[in-house]
Amino acid sequence: MTSALGLPLRRPSVLPGFGLALGFTLVYLGLVVLVPLAALVLKTAGLGWAGFWALATDPRTLSALRLSFGTALAAAAINLVFGLLVAWVLVRYDFPGRRLVDAMIDLPFALPTAVAGIALASLYAPNGPIGALAAMAGLRIAFTPLGIVVALTFVSLPFVVRTIQPVLEEIDRELEEAAATLGAGRLATLRRVILPTLVPAMLTGFALALARAVGEYGSVIFIAGNIPYVSEIAPLLIVIRLEEFHYQAATALACDMLAVSFALLLAINLVQAWSRGRFGHV
């Protein structure tokens, strides 16, 4: 197969079936991803541009979006730091019960989100064990935006750990030793040898955690408080619009979220491409 410019579109491979595989990929992606998204955009299109703009820039919509993306970014950032730490401990150290801890990381994947939300709400409510401690310090966690960050941190943790772990396992320890023999201190080794190798994986983990957190509904509604303009997340506002039988407003908000998410993920991808160019392909 050659394109109009005569450039080969593919390199010869030992395995045949490029055409079939590409065709399948396009059909599959079309059915699973594009058709539902197109339906979403189509439904929104019924509003007209003016109607869409009015809904999309409604102060309540904006505050819900700000809250959803703000808390999701905070949760992803927390997990970036502590997920890296967890991955490091799991890969670099051997200790009794390591496999058990390793398996525990995946629990937030498996647990129904409503269960997670209810469990977190009972822990962090003012009469719960952790909530009572926080209350003594004059801090309210459950039923405030802080509670949302807690829930999102919980559900998005595995994404960071699981993307960093395999890359960390691949890093050749001799590189660190070489750095040491060349006179690099611990901090310099960390900053100039280890972190650059990990940056692409960390960015991927961050992006996945962010994407997961932005769309999270099940666990958040139990711990958020759901007060308009304060602790009302965008997915809840979508449900509220549906309860009003206002399907177009719901899809408009969904399109808003989609656009912001897409922009964020694209930005992360660009940073990733840039870091690959700078630190080399991993």
Partner: protein, 341 residues
């Protein structure tokens, strides 16, 4: 799913059943009742009674399936094609939505059955902690300093809409119809609400198990259930001076019963809800029967006497007016939370 596919599926299923089940089961017709959340216990008993009475009358045994969930969500499922034979929801507005969006129920459905199509009614009461430590007796007490009120979100919960309207009804009376003051009161009331759960059960949990808030605005039947569930030594019911007459309506889904061949069955089922037998069960499950004569006097004694304002009162002007005015996009509830307030 197209009709052809559905027929084929039905045929395949029928064949499988014919092979695997004794022939008597083949005759079972199935009735699907799509209902809202707190009616689980009620319909479990009512269905058993109906099956028995139908069997005695016609010799046919029938299967009744239930679907429970938030009232609005259930209405959306029916609109999207859930083949409900009858709907028994929390709000007239939800059945109106089905009638309007799917055309499977005629617009005049509410007058087809007695008592505005509501075989049972309920109201909104306060649940407070034992001994009523904050001295809450009426709606006016809810906006005192330091009182926290728990109610679900009127946007996502049918029960919460009745809460909202009950507060509104009291305020109209208390402020002599001064619209400005009524709005101020309701806005102040919701400033005392720290958490808006999405459903009535969620709010009950927040209040009873998380220990949050001083008063829970609840369906009368939910309040009684909470007493039974969590213990009468922990909570007590306070009845305000005024509340709403909440009429959870029922309707036949004409478009579906004709396709399912269950019209006679569904009509008999709805009529049965008004029968003395069903009315007795209704009162037993803490709903107020529309035919109190049939109920056990001991069950009736549990219901306190309170002035109930119906939705058709000029104050609200029926659901067709109240729904968009209060709970529609930009309605009075949305206005409460505008930052300018």
């Amino acid at each position: 799913m197209s009709n052809v596919v559905r027929t084929r599926c039905a045929l395949a299923l029928g064949f499988a059943l014919a092979v695997s089940l004794p022939s008597s089961a083949l005759a079972d017709r199935v009735l699907l009742n799509v209902s809202y959340d707190p009616t689980r216990e009620l319909y479990r008993d009512v269905n058993a009674a109906f099956q028995e009475s139908w069997k005695a009358k016609t010799g046919e045994s029938v299967t009744i399936r239930m679907s429970h969930g938030g009232s609005g969500k259930q209405a959306r499922s029916v609109i999207d094609g859930l083949a409900a034979d009858v709907v028994t929801l929390a709000l007239e507005a939800d059945i109106d939505a089905i009638a309007k969006a799917s055309g499977k129920i005629p617009a005049g459905w509410r007058s087809r059955l007695p008592k505005n199509s509501s075989p049972y009614v309920s109201t909104i009461v306060f649940l407070v902690r034992k001994g009523n430590p904050k001295g809450i007796h009426d709606w006016g007490d809810l906006v005192k300093d330091g009182i926290e009120v728990i109610t679900p979100n009127p946007k996502t919960s049918g029960g919460a809409r009745w809460n909202y309207l009950a507060a509104w009804a009291w305020a109209e009376g208390a402020f002599g119809g001064d619209g400005q003051k009524v709005r101020q009161y309701v806005a102040e009331l919701f400033r005392h609400v720290p958490i808006l759960d999405t459903g009535a059960r969620g709010s009950t949990t927040t209040f009873a198990q998380r220990g949050l808030g001083d008063v829970l605005l609840a369906w009368e039947n939910e309040a009684f259930l909470a007493l039974a569930e969590f213990g009468e030594d922990r909570f007590e019911i306070v009845v305000p001076s005024v509340s709403v007459r909440a009429e959870p309506p029922v309707a036949l889904v004409d478009g579906n019963v004709d396709a399912n061949g269950t019209r006679d069955l569904a009509e008999a089922y709805l009529a049965f809800l008004y029968s003395p037998e069903a009315q007795k069960l209704v009162a037993h499950h803490y709903y107020r029967p529309t035919d109190p004569a049939a109920a056990d006097p001991d069950d009736l004694k549990r219901f306190p006497d309170v002035k109930l304002v119906p939705i058709d009162d000029p104050l609200f002007g029926g659901w067709a007016k109240a729904q968009p005015m209060h709970f529609g996009d930009g309605g009075t509830f949305d206005q409460l939370y505008r930052p300018a307030n």
